[in-house]
């Protein structure tokens, strides 16, 4: 599915527009942490991962788990854009009967890799999938995206210990380090810094990148793939609400949807 940088940037912009419109239409949801993760996920689905929307359960496909499940809008937009799910239903997000549930739900979208939403669980799932790949001699890789607030959950670190001990080098953890969680700035709720040092000390090959720089994101995924004997953690520095001036670095937009007027304003900025 390899695409040029310009094409990826265009897709990223369309995804941002979707996120604003979907959460606006739903009148609830999590736009901020969806907007911060756009490049990280777009690069996977449109460039790096081996996937086939026509054959979503292909056993050798690469896998992506959105452990920070509240950022569902970004994943839904990307999956629809990639052809896994219908684009024309995106604005049914969070409505009764919609396949686009509040948090990713594999019962409604079988091409998801896991149901998520309770924070802290995704690393374990990814490592289980990574072990299964190794047991079966398959080459697929598993990517799991975590929020920076999410890593306050202890299970993440149980998984981190497990991943390096078992040398699950086909798993990549991506931390969307946007510095904001529901109640405010991460540093004011429960500081997680020094974040890269934490992953390093748990035995993961650890990279720090600008999570909005598509070239840097691609390079990081390639470095992760080249790293043998240990899993990789990518600490991606991002901006919560990225791309919409009044949402950027604004804790309010962690879990509050834009009003119709705000949607209009945001879409103008995302021309």
């Amino acid at each position: 599915m390899s695409k040029s940088l310009q094409e990826l940037e265009d897709i990223a912009k369309r995804v941002r527009r979707d996120i604003v419109q979907m959460t606006g239409a739903a009148k609830s949801g999590h736009p901020g942490g969806s907007l911060s993760a756009v490049e990280l996920i777009v690069e996977l689905y449109f460039d790096y991962m081996h996937i086939d929307p026509q054959n979503p359960k292909w056993p050798d496909r690469d896998r992506f788990i959105l452990s920070k499940g509240h950022a569902a809008p970004v994943l839904y937009s990307v999956m629809a854009e990639a052809g896994f799910t219908p684009k024309d239903q995106l604005n049914t997000l969070r409505k009764l009967g919609s396949i686009y549930q509040g948090h990713p739900d594999i019962r409604f979208i079988p091409s998801l890799e896991a149901s998520t939403g309770s924070l802290g669980g995704g690393v374990s799932l990814a490592l289980g999938m990574g072990l299964a790949a190794r047991l079966d001699g398959r080459q697929f890789r598993t990517y799991v995206m975590l929020g920076d607030g999410e890593i306050q959950e202890g299970q993440v670190w149980e998984g981190a210990m497990f991943g390096s001990y078992h040398k699950v080098d086909n798993v990549v953890a991506i931390v969307d380090y946007n510095g904001i969680q529901l109640d405010g700035f991460v540093k004011d709720i429960m500081e997680v810094a020094p974040l890269a040092d934490k992953w390093r000390s748990f035995g993961w090959h650890t990279l720090e990148i600008d999570g909005h720089d598509l070239a840097a994101v691609r390079k990081a995924y390639a470095e992760a793939e080249a790293t043998k004997g240990k899993p990789t953690a990518i600490v991606a520095h991002t901006i919560k609400g990225k791309g919409v001036s009044f949402m950027e670095n604004n804790p309010k937009f962690h879990g509050v949807a834009p009003t119709p007027a705000e949607v209009e304003l945001a879409l103008k900025e995302l021309q």
Binding site: D105, S118, A132, L135, G154
Partner: protein, 321 residues
């Protein structure tokens, strides 16, 4: 109607031992069987599997939440994982993961808790699991099984492996009296009529099946005909066997090595109330935590032996009619 066969109830292997043994057989038959354990393999007896299949034995360390998540990830990718620890740890510390990573997406993971109930003995209440059946039954889609002895454990673990979907199996630490001497078949969701009877029914599982048999034999000598059902599957219940017990015997006692709150008893009671209300009594742990002691002493002190089943049976018979 006198009891036809005398039960010897000889001491047999613990149900955890039977679990560990059958797991090796399953491992030989199916390469997709994998086992996760949280630093208790020598107690849960998954050590047998670990020795024969080191590549398929996944040591998770003392981290049950992650272990349950790892098992879910393995299952998502097509494996048939058995995740095992003491019931007190795997269910309580892994409950959120049993809920969100297994039950909600309906993932094919088998959780086997060992050292269930108070009969684990000297280690005391922090290690004793008396709530896990209630917790596991609360999860939509989970099958919950509490086998009585060696052969039923082996058969039901096999059925758990063959079933596609979440299963919790409750096993124990101590030697389990042999209830079945071969020839008996077991099916998830199908109670076994261990003793025929017409005056009253005792529905039991786990170690209490043997106690129910002892109680039935004692009462038989007095001319009271007690039906004994081994309700090894707590969820889904064998509602037809329960209906027949209610209609044909008119009184029911439920006996289990679990808190009475949320266990087999309340589930059977719900089924009875829905189908054919009759007087019921409950033998189980009453709103308390136990203590250290020898298993037999504890079962006696906390009201989980044949004497208690007999007392409950007399009480329910007095209420009958």
């Amino acid at each position: 109607m006198a009891i036809k066969t005398k039960f010897e109830l000889k001491p047999g292997p613990a149900t955890r031992e039977a679990f560990g043994r059958v797991l090796v057989e399953l491992g030989r038959e199916n390469r997709d069987i994998v086992v996760c354990d949280a630093d208790l393999s020598k107690s849960t007896m998954t050590t047998y599997f670990a020795k024969e299949f080191p590549d398929r034995f996944i040591s998770c360390g003392i981290a049950e939440a992650n272990m349950v998540g790892i098992a879910a990830g393995l299952a998502y990718a097509g494996k048939i994982p058995f995740a095992s620890s003491f019931s007190a740890f795997v269910v309580n510390k892994g409950f959120e993961q049993m809920r969100v990573a297994i039950a909600y997406p309906n993932v094919n993971v088998k959780i086997v808790g060992t050292h269930s109930g108070i009969s684990i003995g000297e280690d005391g209440p922090s290690q004793m699991s008396v709530e896990e059946t209630s917790l596991a039954c609360s999860l939509p889609g989970f099958i919950v099984i509490a086998p009585a002895d060696e052969s039923s454990t082996k058969a039901l673990i096999r059925q758990a492996a063959a079933h596609v979907g979440p299963v919790f199996v409750r096993t124990g630490r101590v030697k389990a009296p042999i209830v079945y001497n071969g020839g008996q078949t077991f099916e998830i969701g199908k109670a076994v009529e261990v003793i025929e009877g017409s005056d009253v029914t005792v529905i039991a599982n786990g170690l209490l099946v043997a106690e129910a048999i002892r109680a039935a034999e004692a009462l038989d000598a007095e001319g009271i005909s007690v039906r004994v059902l081994d309700m090894h599957t707590v969820k889904p219940l064998d509602s037809e066997a329960i209906r027949r017990a209610a209609v044909e015997t008119g009184a029911i006692v439920v006996a289990e090595e679990h808190l009475v709150d949320g266990g087999l008893g309340v589930r059977v009671a719900q089924s009875v109330v829905e189908q054919a209300p009759v007087p019921m009594e409950f033998v189980g742990i009453q709103n308390t935590y136990a203590e250290s002691g020898q298993p037999e002493e504890l079962l006696e002190k906390y009201g989980l032996v044949a004497r208690d089943v007999i007392a409950a049976t007399r009480k329910v018979l007095a209420r009958k009619k």
